[in-house]
């Protein structure tokens, strides 16, 4: 919420009251609401369409139990629209539209828990040719159903296993395995703190982070990969990944602090962040939480890669596109470090479903600085000077990122 409050203050101070009053008077109005169950997709979905007098800013979140989804339309009023609707009891049971201050709250109740990927929200432009005003569209997919085999736009080239083996497509069954239940029994929670995608290239976040205005005052979380009982990848000479990620992270901390940032490290010494011999999920969530709990603006995880072929080398950075800034962060840092002398070259800025990238709420990147399995790169990475140089290059990349360009 920090950014929103600051923005509100700025509007009040610099643009002054008359404008604010004008804005309130100029609120968007909901003139109609329609809905339909669509079956022309592998999974059926409910589409809710709101007619609006002008574009709105929207925000969305799903409760932890997944049964209730709330959309907030900023500076929006009700006009000729129903306040409460019963929809498809299998997909979205009900929708309630209620004004709350200047905003309009839309609460959807679903019969089953939904995930952010089950809901899509986007706005359509005013289209005079079909006499349609600005529209806000909410699509909610049905849960716990098997995707249809045949629907419009299905893949054509996929192999059909049933066709390949008509006689026997038997999957030995020892009872159904419910993965989600198994995970729950193991005490592993599926993270619900994810964002709902708002289409039309607008994406709304549940957490706030700054992406511009210079590095000064920014909150940065740094995660030296592995540590303690989790040694990371080993080299042929007995060096562990955890021993190389830490000194680079400590150097980076120094440089970022000097540049005016507030820095949190997931560890300052050789230790497990969650606890010795803990599961990767506990360990990686604990690291993500250092960023989440400190409301960091960015999260940087530092790793050294490893591969079976010792000749493979090079530098890569990774992102998971949960916000439009993850890729930018990875690219800014990657551009600085990827072509460092003596290393195997640029292995690219890549999308990857790494845990710490998915479970942090702010833009995050994971960098793989060289290969510990490559003796030449390992030797370089052990040098204090090289570690400092990488920290300096990463710091430069982060400064670039916060320029906001």
């Amino acid at each position: 919420m920090r950014t929103i409050w600051k923005m509100v203050c700025m509007v009040a101070v610099f643009i002054m009251m008359p404008v604010a009053i004008l804005m309130a008077a100029n609120a968007s109005e909901v003139t109609d609401v329609r809905w339909v169950t669509r079956n022309d997709a592998p999974i059926s979905y409910v589409r809710i369409v709101l007619d609006l007098t002008k574009r709105v800013e929207a925000d969305a979140m799903i409760t932890r139990d997944g049964l209730s989804t709330k959309l907030v339309l900023k500076n929006t009023k009700m006009k000729d629209a129903p306040k409460r609707m019963s929809l498809d009891r299998n997909i979205v049971k009900s929708a309630v539209l209620a004004e709350n201050g200047n905003d309009l709250y839309i609460t959807l109740q679903t019969p089953s828990a939904i995930e952010p990927e089950d809901i899509k929200v986007f706005q359509l432009k005013k289209d005079d040719s079909i006499k349609k005003p600005v529209r806000l569209v909410i699509d909610v997919m049905q849960k716990n159903v098997k995707p249809r085999d045949h629907y419009f736009g299905m893949e054509k080239n996929a192999v059909d296993s049933k066709h390949l083996d008509k006689n026997k497509v038997k999957y030995k069954s020892r009872g159904n395995v419910d993965i989600k239940k198994l995970l729950k029994d193991k005490g592993i929670s599926l993270d619900k703190r994810k964002k709902v995608k708002i289409g039309d290239e607008e994406i709304i976040y549940l957490s706030d982070f700054k992406t511009s205005g210079g590095i000064k005052g920014k909150v940065i979380a740094i995660d030296p990969g592995h540590g303690g009982t989790d040694v990371g990848a080993p080299s042929q000479n007995g060096v562990y990944e955890k021993e190389l990620t830490l000194p680079i992270a400590l150097e980076l901390e120094k440089k970022l602090k000097k540049a005016g940032a507030k820095v949190y490290l997931t560890r300052h010494d050789d230790r497990d962040v969650y606890g010795p011999r803990s599961s990767a999920v506990d360990e990686l969530q604990a690291r993500s939480d250092v960023g989440n709990d400190n409301e960091a603006d960015i999260f940087i995880s530092i790793h050294i890669n490893s591969f079976t072929n010792p000749k493979i080398g090079g530098i890569s950075s990774y992102f998971f596109p949960k916000t439009p800034y993850d890729k930018k962060l990875a690219a800014k840092i990657g551009a600085k470090i990827a072509n460092k002398d003596g290393f195997g070259g640029d292995r690219g800025v890549n999308e990857a479903g790494f845990y710490v990238l998915k479970h942090t709420t702010m833009p995050a990147t994971l960098v793989e600085i060289g290969f510990i399995s490559n003796p030449k790169e390992e030797k370089l990475l052990l040098k204090k000077k090289v570690q400092e140089e990488f920290a300096e290059l990463m710091c430069e990349g982060i400064i670039e990122y916060f320029k906001g360009a």
């Binding site: 085999d149 990944e241 599961s279 790494f354 845990y355 793989e368 510990i372």
Partner: protein
């Protein structure tokens, strides 16, 4: 008599021909079924370790199911000098429900070959992309000893099913 004999002989010879024909039909096609091969797609890590490349192989029709194809993938991959699959890896079972494939491996699956995220990503991309060639498989989860696997070497988020990793598909070996 001779007329009768000749009729009998004629009937006998016709019967023999019919039987012989039946026997032929019974035996020969069976052998063909056993030999019948179908083409399946595997994704194997390329030499530069920049991704997984498509490779079409022939497989006995009886093995052209997710489990058979997965074990063929393993057999092909471990031939590589720098295999990313753990030694002794074996797929024990593949069950498919609602587009989700539950793959049961032996314990070898829990041991990464090199520990790095590249090894982990290529291993997962190879398995998941090969399995999602089957139209009824959209996502994959892993099981060892009846428990869901949530880590290999602590990089990729495995708490949710993994869908096809198109980003890692490269043109050729």
């Amino acid at each position: 008599m001779s007329k009768r004999k000749s009729i009998l002989l004629a009937i006998l010879s016709i019967l023999m021909l019919v039987f012989a024909g039946c026997m032929n039909q019974n035996v020969a096609p069976k052998q063909e079924v056993a030999k019948e091969q179908v083409k399946v797609v595997l994704y194997l890590p390329n030499e530069a370790a920049s991704g997984v490349a498509k490779e079409v192989v022939e497989i006995d029709k009886k093995d052209a199911n997710p489990l058979g194809v997965l074990n063929r993938l393993i057999a092909e991959e471990v031939k590589d000098k720098y295999s990313v699959f753990p030694k002794e890896l074996k797929a024990k079972d593949v069950r498919v429900a609602d587009g989700l494939a539950y793959v049961e491996f032996n314990e070898a699956f829990l041991k990464s070959q090199a520990g790095g995220s590249l090894t982990e990503r290529l291993e997962l991309a190879s398995i998941v992309n090969t399995l999602t060639e089957f139209k009824d498989i959209k996502e994959v989860m892993f099981i060892v000893n009846g428990d869901p696997v949530t880590e290999i070497s602590g990089h990729v988020d495995m708490t949710n099913p993994i869908s096809r990793i198109d980003d890692l598909i490269v043109e050729s070996k």
